[in-house]
């Protein structure tokens, strides 16, 4: 308790520091810009500043439009055999012509101490808040606090929005065990070590409303996570990042429905461990002509609790150790053109006899998939992609073909490594 108070006082002290620097800069420059050797280019820099209107302080706006045409063989099934469907996950896509998503991103520095961002996913009849958070810019000693709703910092793919994926759909372990990306309401604390090697520690407390958590257990702190990331360069052309993370999620009445509209509800613990590795190559750090990216992640979870289902209602103890991994490589072989290949696989676990024959029962099947893709980016703002997947997530194999467009309008979005 005392520690907590101390932390609050410390934070308040940091935030109340006056901003003197800005004024100094402005005063300083009028004399610095005096004509020296500037030739005809000399002019006080103030003259070229735009006239400030209220609009000038609007947040940066970007709009991302993406859609697909997909064609599946008849045997295609959306379910992953042996895994509970992860609700309304944007991991899967619909057959035919369809809008995959439209995202509106608004972000800006709030003031000298805070940054804020809102990401809306627009769908027919609703706008879903994907992320809405503030982040500190002014904490000392490499600390950053993020608060609001955000994608958890666990793993590598988890923080990436769909428009940044290298394939049309997300890798199987993410779809099966995180319902696509795991985001929730909460707070995150990150600390970057003052070392030449990139070392980052993070911890999160989250509401626990979304899959794999559910029901906002523990009075609204139903999920907690911790992660460590390392990274560095190797020579002038290679760089890497590796990390491990753990998410402890409490599920309270986590529901899914099978094809016969029977409801199954899970209550228990869903701890998840993630290990990830990313390696990038760009000759002399110049990705313009050719570059290469390899990434792989391993996810493992150990659910334990009970399933409630059927009528009359049955309560069955449930415990399952499941895991999954993927590895993918993307190579830009000439300006604007990239090819990629991905393999992803899952390992289910036998459910108790009462649940035999349901979707939770892998029935000896090991879901796996192999995908290849080719994409073309006219500029940093537009991308067209074709992807082929051979899918064995259900006992019958299926083939999938996708055509996809991703268009980014507006502010130049910066993307993480």
């Amino acid at each position: 308790m005392i520690k907590k108070q101390f932390a609050v006082i410390g934070m308040a002290a940091v935030l109340s520091q006056p901003v003197i620097a800005q004024e100094e800069t402005q005063q300083g420059t009028s004399s610095e810009a005096k004509p020296g050797t500037g030739g005809e280019m000399r002019r006080p820099w103030q003259t070229q500043r735009p006239i400030i209107t209220s609009n000038a302080f609007n947040p940066a706006v970007s709009l991302i439009l993406y859609g697909t045409y997909s064609r599946f063989t008849k045997s295609y099934q959306e379910d992953i055999h042996g895994f509970a469907p992860a609700g309304d996950a944007h991991g899967a896509t619909r057959e035919g012509l369809s809008l995959q998503g439209s995202e509106l991103v608004l972000s800006s520095n709030v003031d000298n101490k805070f940054y804020g961002s809102l990401i809306l996913k627009l769908e027919d009849g609703k706008a879903q808040v994907e992320e809405a958070f503030f982040q500190t810019l002014g904490l000392p000693q490499g600390l950053t606090v993020k608060g609001g709703r955000f994608l958890s910092g666990i793993g590598y793919l988890n923080e990436q929005h769909p428009h940044f994926w290298d394939f049309v759909d997300i890798a199987l372990p993410y779809r099966a065990m995180l319902g696509g990306n795991y985001g929730d309401d909460g707070v995150q604390l990150r600390w970057v070590a003052p070392t030449p090697l990139f070392v980052e520690f993070g911890a999160e407390a989250l509401r626990g409303e979304n899959f794999p958590a559910s029901g906002a257990a523990k009075r609204g702190i139903g999920a907690r996570s911790a992660f460590v990331n390392l990274g560095d360069d190797v020579g002038l052309s290679h760089s890497w990042r590796a990390g491990v993370a753990r998410l402890e999620a409490d599920a309270q009445g986590r529901m899914f429905e099978d094809h016969a509209h029977n409801e199954y509800s899970f209550t228990g613990k869903a701890p998840l461990n993630v290990a990830n590795f990313v390696w990038k190559w760009a000759p002399l750090r110049n990705p313009a002509v050719t570059n290469f990216k390899f990434q792989a992640e391993y996810l493992q979870r150990d659910e334990s609790g009970a399933y409630t289902f059927g009528s009359p209602v049955q309560d069955v103890r449930y415990g399952a150790k499941q895991s999954g991994w993927y590895a993918q490589a993307v190579y830009q072989f000439m300006p604007r053109w990239r090819v990629g290949a991905r393999y992803d696989a899952l390992k289910g676990a036998m459910p108790p006899v009462e649940l035999a024959g349901t979707i939770l029962d892998p029935e000896g099947h090991k879901p796996q998939r192999a995908s290849v893709m080719l994409d073309f980016s006219n500029s940093a703002f537009s991308r067209l992609r074709v992807q082929f997947s051979h899918n064995q997530t259900a006992p019958k194999d299926a083939n999938e073909i996708y055509l996809q467009y991703i268009m980014s309008l507006g502010a130049h979005g910066a993307h993480k490594f």
Binding site: K3, V19, I20, A21, Q22, T25, G28, T29, E32, A33, G36, T37, G38, M41, R42, R43, W45, T47, Q48, N109, N112, Y115, L137, G138, Q141, G142, T144, R190, W191, V192, A193, P194, T195, P196, L197, F198, E200, N229, L230, G231, D233, S239, R241, K280, L284, R285, N286, P287, A288, P335, N378, S379, A380, F381, L409, H412, A414, H415, K416, F417
Partner: protein, 321 residues
């Protein structure tokens, strides 16, 4: 769980204490581009330790917020960048992820060169159909040495402000640099007098300040729109244009794909010149003086070459290959 949290917090507190007590020996400067790294070294000397985020062979438009850059940003006392939106694809991420309150924009720890010069080519029409245009104007401002002088004056003041203990030293080093730089500009202008009015082809709009200073005439650009690589159809169109109004040479930065410039130079019978663009872009461009020495020398060599039959279509004339 509670006990684990306690241990974690204590560990964190211990680490914080450890790092907050160690005082840095020299002012740590994080330079976005090599030209500002070189300038900080000129002005700071032994009082600064400079980390340069990009190399002379790297396209400053396409930089990734790599983990190593976040780690360097974390420790910086002063960040020196071009500004003018040049670094918008990566620098904001470093500010957000580096957890370094000393260098956030708006404070004294962030220095933007673009604030000290008048940017050329401020677009009158902002539309991405025009390519990846820079809304605030062309940010490749360092290739006019007179701009370097303006930025140097600003940077010297800022160094003195951030590191008051060494203020006098920065002043002395700046006075010395300014004197040598003024002389050097005079020398380059004399050497480059014959370049005035020469028609050239450029790869990207990264040479506007150099052209403006030396009086080169850029008649056509190999990129159809900024940031969009040329297709072979577009190159053929440029070639046809050059038949109407011939150019003396094609210039490109060391980091740019050499193929379009070579293709065109071969067919148009003019030299393709690789210029260092920034410090580290060639063996001769070891510092800011070397950068302009080498740039002027390569241009002069290409002009002489352009007149001679045996030079026609020669690859990367200008030496230093």
């Amino acid at each position: 769980m509670v006990a684990m949290k306690k241990v974690y917090l204590q560990l964190l507190a211990a680490l914080l204490l450890l790092f907050s007590t160690s005082a840095p020996a020299a002012l740590r400067v994080f330079a976005c581009e090599p030209e500002w790294g070189a300038l900080a070294t000129e002005l700071g000397g032994p009082a600064v330790s400079v980390y340069t985020a990009t190399t002379g062979l790297q396209d400053p438009h396409l930089v990734e917020a790599r983990p190593s850059l976040i780690a360097q940003m974390r420790k910086a006392d002063l960040v020196v960048c071009t500004g003018g939106d040049l670094e918008q694809g990566w620098l904001p991420l470093l500010f957000q992820q580096g957890g370094n309150s000393r260098v956030q924009p708006g404070g004294s720890g962030y220095f933007e060169a673009a604030a000290f010069v008048t940017l050329l080519e401020v677009p009158s029409r902002l539309d991405r159909a025009e390519g990846d245009v820079h809304a605030m104007g062309n940010p490749h401002l360092h290739l006019d040495p007179r701009n370097i002088a303006l930025v140097a004056a600003g940077l010297a003041k800022r160094l003195a402000q951030v590191d008051g203990a060494n203020a006098a030293q920065y002043q002395v080093r700046h006075d010395d640099f300014a004197k040598r730089w003024t002389q050097a500009i005079r020398r380059w202008e004399q050497q480059g007098a014959s370049l005035k009015g020469i028609p050239i082809v450029t790869q990207h709009k990264s040479w506007s300040y150099l052209s403006h200073w030396l009086g080169l005439r850029e008649i056509v650009t190999l990129e159809p729109k900024p940031g969009i690589p040329p297709s072979s159809a577009y190159l053929s169109q440029v070639l046809a244009e050059l038949k109407q109004k011939p150019a003396k040479m094609v210039i490109r930065a060391a980091y740019q794909d050499p193929r379009p410039a070579r293709w065109l130079a071969e067919r148009a019978g003019i030299p393709a010149v690789e210029l260092p663009f920034t410090v580290g872009g060639s063996d001769q461009a070891k510092d800011l003086f070397g950068l302009f020495d080498d740039t002027v020398a390569r241009l002069l060599k290409a002009v002489q070459c352009a007149g001679m039959e045996e030079c026609r279509g020669r690859q990367d004339a200008g030496g230093g290959q």
